[in-house]
Amino acid sequence: MTQSLVTDEVEEVPPAPRPSLADAAREYVSRVRGGDVGPLPAILGLVVLLIVFSALRPETFTNSFNFANLLIQSAPVIVIAMGLVFVLLIGEIDLSAGFTAGVAGAMLGVVSTRNDWPWWVGVIVCLATGAFIGLVIGVLVARVGIPSFVVTLAGFLGLQGLLLQIIGEGGTIRIRSETVLAIMSKNLPLWLGWALFVAIVVAYAAVSFRQLANRRSRGLVAQPPAVWLAKVVGLALLLGVCTYYLSIERSRNAAISSIKGVPIVIPVVLVLLVLFSLLLTRTLFGRHVYAVGGNAEAARRAGINVARVRLLCFVLCSTIAAIAGVLLASRVNSVTPSTGGGETLLYAVGAAVIGGTSLFGGKGRPVDAIIGGLVVAVVANGMGLLNQPAAVVFMVTGLVLLLAAGVDALSRRRAAASGRA
């Protein structure tokens, strides 16, 4: 009886198949149909929005001044959203990230303007403030066990008060540091913009090719070289068009002041993107973040210190929000009691979710924040150019968010039905 079950022998493992371009395309289509849509809806939405607004306002929406403006405007929300990706990945939320940015920005003002210390001391204090706020939230959530919704709601209110306390009723702290102000208002020289473009494309091509070659030589399944080439060409085209467009003179009166080149904030955001993507996909910590978000009990049994991972996610989120605080302060040359308030946080949550990060944890990438943040920024910018009142802008943005969350829910249902949850 027992013997009949033992008979099968270990067979020679067949060499890994070499998928062709068509295989890869079929695989992708079947994945999307199975509900694993990734950022596809957000990208399609972005394209549709760009086409609609370009058709409605061909002059004002598409000119390069507005294009650069849109990118600069979206940067703080995108950066906060990148931080939120870390807490959303573990299935938590941080409602206080907006005012964390405000308080951290205020500390930058206090140190560099009121006390007249060098700008970099201000930035260090700003980031340390963010990290400290994150530490407090993280301890309360991960060690004490208070739900993150409540802790960060309290943080939302408390930090708003703290910001008012630091700055004073109706007051402002001006930011005078040229370096800080340059981030959101100055551009790279044209040659540096193009040099950066070439460096990014070459680096991406080289790194991804090495990975591909390495997998092939070890006999593992690797994507076909045609897919690699398509990705490199796609990236080069996208960045090339953007760089070209940003290199056009966009000042109305170029004789008085010339505005051209890639805004400094763009490489800043790209560096953050690469950094956080590496952290999440290539390090032990990143792997454990996904594990905790997917199944915290499994992570605990595997010996992962779940509380520590959760704590670190909150510290990271708030520290990244502090970076956004620098951008917010730089954008308007000052910090006020409403910096980081209003719709900042909700736009950031919306950006992460629209980009494809799940509110249920375990699914999401830093690049989602950029795609979603651009969708939010395009809606706000385009509606503004259509001379729509704020009321309509809010309602439309709300609908876009609802649509994105709906796509998330539907794709999850579809994924559950096809076993790809």
Partner: protein, 277 residues
């Protein structure tokens, strides 16, 4: 894992030195004594089934072995040496791995990531994906698992049997000597049950010791070499599965006992003994 296992096809022997031996272990939770002087012998290369009705103490016994809560008294011998296992880490260090009923896999991670969860391979500070993928593929091939399409599949897309396979593969990836399986076939269909039982048998044939908890007597008789029966916290019998029938095992589980009758060991019918007393 091949380094510690013996030759494949090693004949299971009832007389080999035991890997794990429990002698007269007791466990109480407050005033309730759950285990009474339980003995258990587990040998390398053999599947030892642990059977008993609900509340017989099976879970408490394996939790004691795995170090989740230590026994109150009694001897715990591993490879002939008395050891003290007070927490799961110490059990893991000895080479004991438990696959729980709820599989503890991360749906959003792929097979390789799940196999290495918590023990990821690193190279210059970063995850060494290639090394992990190669070894994961080797391990699955070594267990003759050919039902998964790609080791880079998300676990969410796997069937129940495949998920169980991944959970078991994870337990054997780490040079383990004793693998404890808690109801591995409880939620599976016929074909998948067959697939998992085959894997269980293969583990023992590769030289590991396996403790299998199951309510399904067909499964037990199909793969187990030894059957240990618990009844109300006492181990009433440990027999070789070839010596007993389906009905006899059921009788042992429901309170029957082994008695000598006319030079032969037979199992009493609990209904008869119940009538006598």
């Amino acid at each position: 894992m091949t380094s510690t296992t013996t030759e494949e096809g090693l004949a299971p022997s009832a007389d080999g030195p035991p890997l794990l031996e429990l002698r007269a272990v007791n466990k109480s939770f407050g005033p309730v004594q759950v285990l009474h002087d339980v003995d258990l012998t587990v040998r390398l290369g053999r599947v030892t089934a642990l059977v008993g009705d609900n509340g017989a103490g099976k879970s408490t016994l394996i939790k004691g072995i795995a170090g989740i809560h230590a026994f109150d008294s009694g001897a715990y011998l591993f490879e002939g040496e008395p050891v003290h296992v007070a927490n799961p880490k110490q059990a893991n260090a000895l080479g004991i791995e438990v696959v729980y009923q709820d599989l503890a896999l991360c749906d959003n991670l792929d097979i390789v990531e799940n196999l290495y969860l918590g023990r990821e391979a690193l190279r210059t500070g970063f995850l060494d994906e290639i090394a992990m993928e190669e070894r994961a593929a080797e391990t699955l091939a070594g267990l003759s698992v050919r039902t998964v399409k790609s080791v880079r599949q998300k676990v969410a897309s796997l069937s129940g049997g495949q998920r169980q396979t991944v959970a078991i593969a994870r337990a054997v990836l780490w040079n383990s000597k004793l693998v404890i399986l808690d109801e591995p076939t409880a939620a599976l269909g016929v074909a998948q049950t067959e697939q998992v039982l085959r894997l269980v048998r293969r583990l023992a044939d590769r030289g590991l010791a396996v403790i299998l908890i199951s309510h399904n007597m067909n499964d037990v008789l199909a793969v187990a070499d030894d059957i240990a029966v618990l009844y109300l916290g006492r181990r009433t019998a440990q027999v070789e599965s070839k010596d007993v029938t389906h009905a006899e095992v059921v009788q042992l589980i429901t309170g029957g006992a082994l008695v000598e009758k006319g030079g032969q060991v037979v199992v009493t019918d609990p209904r008869e003994t119940g009538a006598e007393s």
